[in-house]
């Protein structure tokens, strides 16, 4: 559908981590695409590997992580093959990330202004000099971004330390920091979930507005299905380090193909007064994962084949991809890339 191909395409990403218990197979053949101007949500529960995926995109994996397979193509370039220096040029200026917890992702001992200024001055530079030369233009640019994220009294906020700001303001500063480099792709990790619901609501709305006007592409990472529904065009459901299902946002909430997605949605307490039973069991052990389908031990529809053969992500219906033996490929799988 898109002749130039997706902005970001993750193929068969596999990441292992060395832990005390042994080698944890954290990501197993993850496949994900984001097109220009599109907002995609990656939804999953604690420990499903969604944050690792985000960090892998920016090359910010912890030292005990090891990429064992796959590629992350950004505008055709495989980020995994880039040197640290080349990645350095991409971070912030082409792909930026908004961190999850506003109380820890800001450096507590520098003012908002200092942190913004440094990003304006040194983003992408190989090394910084000792002093900070804050020219009026730099300052102007900082204030402009603060205004963009709707911080009241940007001049005042400029000189404040994070500790002096409220949670919502801190979250806005984090957004500002991510937007300084005018990135094309924004990764938002659990945006707003650490905030009160009324503030979360404001932030999400504002970001949606920014994305729309700026033509940004966004990868939302969240465990909150409601939030995902609110912000995204397309949703990837992740389970146990694998993509379980992908569908347009509107559709997946009506009908889920993967048993995990079904269980997950059923478990969400509804305002209608209904609430499912939840899913039996616990997330898989990554060191010794189930041999084939990772959801198999918890799956109510498990079959013989589920223990023998790993289900691949196939397009079961139009624009709907699922990795489950219950759903066969719509036609010859692999003929078309998933698309939004």
């Amino acid at each position: 559908m898109n002749p130039t191909g997706p902005l970001l395409a993750i193929q068969d990403l596999g990441i292992h981590m060395r832990t005390y218990e042994g080698r944890a197979r954290v990501l197993n053949g993850v496949r994900l695409a984001i097109h220009e101007g599109e907002t995609v949500a990656l939804v999953g529960e604690t420990g499903c590997g969604k944050s690792i995926t985000a960090k892998a995109i920016l090359g910010l994996l912890p030292p005990n992580a090891e990429i064992v397979s796959g590629s992350i193509a950004f505008k055709g370039r495989d980020l995994l093959r880039l040197s640290e220096e080349e990645l350095h040029g991409i971070r912030g200026r082409q792909i930026a990330m908004i961190f999850q917890d506003p109380s820890t992702a800001l450096n507590p001992v520098f003012t908002v202004g200092e942190q913004l200024t440094d990003v304006v001055l040194w983003q992408g530079a190989r090394s910084a000099t000792i002093g900070r030369r804050v020219t009026p233009e730099v300052r102007q640019r900082c204030l402009e971004i603060l205004r963009l994220v709707r911080i009241p009294d940007p001049e005042g906020a400029f000189g404040r330390y994070p500790v002096e700001l409220s949670g919502g303001m801190r979250q806005r500063v984090l957004i500002a920091l991510a937007l300084v480099g005018r990135p094309e792709l924004l990764i938002a990790d659990e945006l707003g979930t650490a905030l009160d619901v009324s503030v979360q609501d404001q932030i999400l709305l504002e970001l949606r507005e920014l994305v729309r006007t700026g033509g940004l592409s966004v990868l939302y990472i969240t465990h909150n299905l409601g939030v995902a529904r609110l912000v995204s065009d397309r949703i990837y459901v992740m389970y146990g380090g694998e993509i379980a299902e992908m569908a347009p946002a509107a559709e997946i909430f009506r009908r889920q193909l993967h048993p995990y997605s079904q269980g997950l949605l059923a478990a969400v307490p509804r305002l209608t007064g209904t609430m499912g039973e939840g899913i039996e069991g616990r997330i898989p052990d990554y060191v010794n994962p189930p041999p084939a389908c990772r959801f198999e031990p918890r799956c109510p529809f498990r079959m013989e084949v589920c223990r023998l053969q790993r289900p691949l992500l196939v397009e079961a219906e139009r624009d709907r991809w699922v990795a489950c033996h219950l759903h066969g490929s719509r036609e010859d799988s692999g003929s078309g890339e998933e698309s939004g």
Binding site: G92, M97, A105, D118, V119, W122, V180, G181
Partner: protein, 336 residues
């Protein structure tokens, strides 16, 4: 709680501690089995003389009365009379304190200047050979008996290499302003004197600093590693900031801040080790004087040295806390 109040409270908190310390050390000095008067008068003194001096020093009064008059004296800047040196203890302190102050301060500066970069490097190259080496060397610094190291240094640099003078502070600079030779010679632009003083202070300062240096290196390493794991470190990387900026400005300030109070505490170890190092290097400082007064059971000297050490330690920690508040807004804005 405002920052100023916090500082004020810290200062006032020192008062009961110092009173307690003076009582403690006063009691210890009074239960010492030696008779300082006898000692001061020399082996040939007779009973009559001893009694006379005892009365003169008020040692015939009950202990609490002695304490009260001592404290009253301290408020007048009078620390009593030293039986060892036979002059006012205040005068002794004036003579000996600058030497110790110069030595410990330089050792502290040395520890920080060397310990911080080493710690940062070790953290950045965690688990590399360099890191292991750094750690072993640092631990070695902690593990060396300080006086033993001092003697070994003398053997190496004075005896075998002949590079540095073995003992003492060297000649005093022509004009004494602060009593700190290094500072005085700099202030008067007397560079020859500066070099001479520097040569003299080099070994004792290094011997003294080794433990603290190692301590600081370990602390900085640990907290740098901790800081590197924090979200804001990852965030800074995600903005595409250069790594030298992240490490040396962003993380180091955090790491330094969180180790600052412990660095302040390690000043105490410096002061403690000065009691051994000054002796080996015949450094005419307070710790040297302290050991002598102690061995001579010279009450007034012992109490005064202990109090001065206590005050120096407390003031250092106070300054550190103020500095801490100054660089860490979380303290300044009263979270806690």
């Amino acid at each position: 709680m405002g920052f100023r109040t916090y500082v004020l409270r810290r200062i006032l908190h020192m008062i009961p501690v110092m009173v307690g310390l003076s009582i403690l050390i006063f009691v210890i000095s009074r239960v010492m089995p030696g008779d300082p008067v006898r000692l001061a008068l020399g082996p040939e003194a007779n009973i009559e003389q001893i009694e006379q001096l005892r009365r003169l020093m008020g040692l015939d009064k009950p202990v609490h009365m002695q304490y009260i008059s001592y404290v009253a004296g301290v408020f007048r800047g009078d620390f009593g009379y030293s039986l060892l040196t036979r002059r006012a203890v205040a005068q002794d302190l004036k003579d000996f304190f600058p030497a110790t102050f110069e030595l410990t301060t330089l050792a502290m500066i040395l520890s920080i200047l060397l310990g911080v970069p080493l710690g940062v490097r070790a953290a950045v190259r965690k688990d590399s050979l360099e890191d292991h080496l750094n750690r072993v060397v640092a631990l070695a610094g902690v593990a060396l008996p300080r006086f033993w190291l001092a003697i070994l240094l003398q053997l190496a640099f004075a005896y075998h290499l002949g590079l540095l003078p073995t003992i003492g502070r060297g000649p005093a600079p022509a004009s004494q302003i602060t009593g700190l030779y290094l500072l005085d010679s700099l202030l008067t632009l007397d560079f020859n004197a500066f070099i001479v003083s520097l040569k003299h202070i080099a070994m004792p300062a290094f011997a003294l600093s080794v433990g603290t240096l190692a301590q600081i290196m370990r602390l900085i390493r640990a907290s740098m590693i901790e800081e590197m794991r924090r979200d804001h470190a990852l965030a800074a990387r995600s903005y595409g900031l250069p790594s030298n900026l992240i490490i040396y400005r962003y993380l180091l300030k955090n790491a330094f801040t969180s180790t600052l109070t412990i660095i302040g505490l390690s000043y105490g170890f410096l002061l403690g080790n000065a009691f051994l190092v000054e002796r080996v290097f015949a450094w005419p400082g307070m710790a040297f004087y302290g050991v002598d007064t102690l061995l001579a059971k010279d009450f007034n000297g012992v109490i005064a040295v202990t109090l001065v050490v206590g005050v120096a330690y407390a003031v250092t920690n106070l300054l550190v806390d103020i500095l801490y508040g100054f660089i860490d807004p979380r303290i300044r804005y009263g979270e806690g």
